[in-house]
Each structure stands twice: as C-alpha cells, then as structure tokens.
Amino acid sequence: MTDSITDNRRAPPVGGRMATPDCATQKHVPGEVGIWLFVAGDLLVFSAFFVVIALGYREQTELFAQSRTTLDMWVGVLNTFFLLTGSWFVAKGVESCRQAHGAASSRYISLGILFGLLFVANKSFEWGLKIANGVTPKTNDFFMYFFSFTGIHLVHVLVGLGVLLVVRNVSRRPELSKKDIRTIESGATFWHLVDLLWIVLFSLFYLL
C-alpha cells in the first residue's frame, strides 16, 4: 500500500517542486481525495457482493461446500501470490518515484504489470479448465457466483493493468511534477484496491 507519508519525505524535490515548509508537517494523502472516494464506493459495492455470496452459503450450505472442493485451492493461492507480489512491486515503484526517481521506478511498475498479467493468465487457465470439464456458471448457484464475481474482479484487474500502463508511462518522465506523483499514487491506489478485493474473494470462494 502507498502508506501515508509526510511531504518532507519527498525531498529532494522531484520535478523541481519542493514541499513547502507549511505542509511538511501535514499528513500526506496518497493520490487525491477523488481516488479514495472511488475506493470507498467500490468497497461498498463489493461488500454488497460479499453479502450476496454469504447468503448463498447460508441457503445452500451443502451445495456450496461440495462445489468448493472442486476448486483447486493452489490456483487461488498462486493468484493471491501474483497480486500481492505485483502490489509490492508497484509500492516499490511509487516509493522510488517519490524519493530517488530513476530508471528503477518504471521497472518496478513493469514488474507489477507482469504479475498482473500472470494473474490474468492463471485465471484464464483456471476458467478454461473448468469450462472444458463442463463446469459453467449454469452448473449451480455456487459457480454462478464464482464466475460472475471473479469475472467482475477480472474486469477490475484489466482496468488496473491499463491504469498501470499509464502510471508506467508517467514514471518514465525524466522529472516528475507534483501532478505526476499524484497520478502515480492514484493509479497505484487503484491497483492495491484490486488486490484487496481479490483477497476477500479468495477467502470466500476457496477457504471458507
């Protein structure tokens, strides 16, 4: 996560912008207020999704428990590993942009993108295998939820990859302005949200 930092941590200035003494003691909010509004909104909706899944579990406990055993937990574990590692690289990239901006910054973001792509590949492999075995969203309610909610999450991952590409392009600029840093932090925040949502989905579908 892009932890809260104080503005003075950004010194020496990136892109020639120096933090003013006034704000040196203020808490720095990564990105901007809007992205946090977005994060809160998305979390709210996913919370509703999680309630829908939980209700499904309660109504059809046996079916859900039985269906869950057909999921390969290690595929889920691998996907969690891909996203967490990707997020770690993105966080390193953001830190690098803030402090000692150089070629390493965009390399970290590129590694984040690579791990995101590995997630997509692994998810496609998992889905492909299920569909080849005749398991589809129409098989039962568990798989209806599984395919739909992980599908909506996959859309988030794809959007996130697009956002990371923008972040990567910005991070390659020789000098970063305050606005560039804001863009990088906002993009990274979205990627961490994607990560967080997956961890809850993973717990609900593979572990419970």
Binding site: F38, V45, A48, V52, P137, G151, V155
Partner: protein
Amino acid sequence: MQTTVNDPLFRKSMRFCAWSGYMAVIFYIIGGVILGGMTPPLLNSGEAPEVFVRKITDNQFQIQIASVFMMISFALFGSFGAGIAAQTRRFETNPVFSYVQIVFTAGGQVIALLVAFSWALMAFRPETYHPTVVMMFTDFAYFCALFSVPLFGGWCVMIALPILVAEEGKEPFPRWVAYVNLWAALLYIPGQLILFFKTGPFAWHGFVALWIPYIAYFAWIWIMSAAMSKVAKAAGNEPVVGGARSAAGSVA
C-alpha cells in the same frame, strides 16, 4: 475554448440542463418506480410468458401512464448530456471530448427511449400479442437499459477523461467528479450479466444486475446535475483567461 467569464445566458442554459437531469430522475421515479413496475420489477425473468401477460393485463393502464413518464424522463437525457458537453467545451481549445460526449449522449438517449417504447408496446395489447412476444418486449426493455454497459459506461469515462487529463486548475468539473464518473462506469458492469442468467441476482430482475446499475445511473445523473448547478451559480469551475481560480471557484 476559453470564452468570456461572465455570461448570464450560459448560466441560465446550464441551469436548464441541470434541471433536465433532476427532472429526468423525478420522472423516472414516477414512471419506472411508482407506476411502471420497472424497479422494483413487477416481472421476473424466470417466469412463464403467460404470467407476464397476466401481470401486465392486471396493471395495463398504470403501465401505459408510466411509459409516458418514462418517455419524458429519457427524452431529458439529451439536454442533460449536452450541458455536460457544453461545460467540457468551454475548456477545450480544439474540441474533441465535448464532441465525443455529444455522440455518447445521443446514443444513450436513443437507447433509453427504446426502453420506454418497449415498455409501452408491452402494455399496448398484451391480450392480443402472443405471450412470448410480450415477454420479448420486456426482455428488450431491460436489455436496452442494462446490457448497454459500454455505451453508458463509455459516456461516463468520456466525461472523466477530460477532467483527469486537464492541466491543474483548468478542469471543466472538480476532479472528484471524474472519479464519481469512473465509479459509475464500473457499477454498470454487472448489467452485462443479464445475458447469461434468467434467475438469481444476475438476471434482469436481480439485485446485482438491476439494482446496482440502476441506482448508480440515477445517482450519477443527480450528481452531475448538481455539478452543473454549481457551474450555473458561478461557484463551480469557470474558464480563466490568464488568471487563477480562487478556492471558492470564482475567478480572478
């Protein structure tokens, strides 16, 4: 194009466009919620065609009146969307996004009007049409409203992009408005699932595929209308020629 700062006619026009949005929501609540049975859904995607016909026949006059209200509501999308494009246009030297927004507005309005057309036809002579035809009109209405994610979502993205890529202090709307638009676009996505399910939360009468996109859509109209009202009061974003905008949004 950054034009004159104090333009009373522009303010009146923006107020009109903002009120188009507010009225669109109010007319939809009357037509689609109170009278028409669209949300909450009177019909259920998994029911037999004969059940559709019975329910529609029982509420025929009410649904017909509702269709008129829905038609008015959706017709107002045009001036609502044009207002957003007009404000975007004020900040463009060479217009691109404002034109794109106009295209999405027109597309969105036409598809929305088809919802009202289909709802009206569904209740036109259900006793004469074959039940499956009545059912198809209902399906068509919900598909126009919910399955058109790239159109309505794309519209939101086209509003968000010019705000996000604008130079500091030259955004047509406050930056948080861009994020609200992106959030709305994401909330429409479950609407695409109605193609695959006839029962459960992902069917066109379900919680995830119907309620989330619908609430997001009408909340989005309300928020964008409020943003336009702020511009109309000269307390919102104004184009500045060689000056700086004050914290309150007024111009130097």
